[in-house]
């Protein structure tokens, strides 16, 4: 851990929140991607036998 001096809180806060926000957008994108893909598979499967 480097010595951050008197601004430790600020620096850590900035890094923490930024990385947190990035993780949130990545996680949300991945979750939605997975959900939509599963849903599409389901719909395609339903469509298949009827044809």
């Amino acid at each position: 851990m480097p010595d951050l001096g008197k601004y430790a809180t600020e620096v850590l806060l900035a890094y923490g929140v930024s990385i947190g926000l990035l993780v949130v957008i990545v996680a949300l994108s991945m979750r939605r991607a997975r959900k939509v893909r599963a849903q599409l598979d389901q719909v395609e499967a339903r469509k298949g036998p009827r044809k």
Binding site: K6, E10, V11, I25
Partner: protein, 241 residues
């Protein structure tokens, strides 16, 4: 073989799917390297102390916040001119990422401003323009959400994006003009090109590369998601009829 081949949704998905994890993990790896480098292995600035490390997040996110809007503008133009659905969906996919980038830039800026300027928020031209950019993103996303018919939504958001771009640039200059009359001490200067030593510059470059790659990976992934979501809609509509 031209770039327009990728405007075919199927082809787009087939081509990008193998690349998304590569880009995503690659960008994360680069980000980790850049941020660790910046956080642990760079000296403090003699004037700003350790807060200089905030810039390794602040600068790339600010850059991407603007570039994301620019990418949306280009995608909107392509949609309006050549009517490729992938293009419209890519613009839609990029907007939330732009919002996050703007938020990061604003937040890290505020956190840096608190010890340096003595205030969380100053109505500095750059800060103000970013706030306005944030509002533009919100309006753009809200319009996408509000319109039922996908083609209508794509058309209207594209028009909004173009008009919004003009006004965003206009606001940038207006804001510059507006704050001239108010206080602007030298310590408020945000000019990063000046006296940035190589020690700070190289890790910052790595971070910028990481942010760019992350943005590309996310846009590709989200665009594929939007394409699939639209296919679901189309299939369900066909089954119902």
């Amino acid at each position: 073989m031209s770039i327009w081949e990728y405007a075919n949704p199927k082809k787009f998905i087939a081509t990008t799917t193998p690349w998304v994890p590569v880009l995503l993990w690659g960008s994360i790896a680069i980000l980790v390297v850049g941020l660790v480098w910046g956080f642990f292995f760079t000296p403090d600035d003699f004037r700003q102390g350790s807060t200089v490390k905030i810039f390794y997040v602040h600068v790339p996110s600010a850059l991407m916040a603007i570039n994301a809007w620019f990418m949306m503008l280009v995608a909107s133009l392509i949609w309006l001119i050549r009517r490729h659905h992938v293009s419209a969906l890519a613009a839609r996919a990029a907007a939330p990422i732009g919002v996050v980038m703007t938020l990061i830039a604003l937040f890290t800026g505020a956190v840096w401003g608190q010890p340096m300027w003595g205030t969380w928020w100053a109505w500095d031209p750059r800060l103000t323009s970013f706030l306005i950019l944030f509002l533009f993103y919100l309006g753009y996303i809200a319009l996408w959400e509000a319109i039922e018919d996908p083609d209508t939504a794509a058309d209207l958001t594209s028009v909004l994006c173009i008009v919004g771009s003009v006004f965003a640039v206009l606001s940038r200059y207006a804001v510059n003009f507006w704050n001239q009359g108010l206080h602007q001490p030298a310590s408020l200067s945000l000019d990063k090109e000046e006296n940035v030593a190589d020690v700070f510059w190289y890790p910052a470059l790595v971070c910028i590369a990481g942010f760019v790659l992350l943005f590309i990976a996310l846009v590709l992934m989200r665009t594929a998601t939007e394409i699939r979501a639209r296919r679901i809609r189309a299939l369900e509509a066909r089954m119902r009829s």
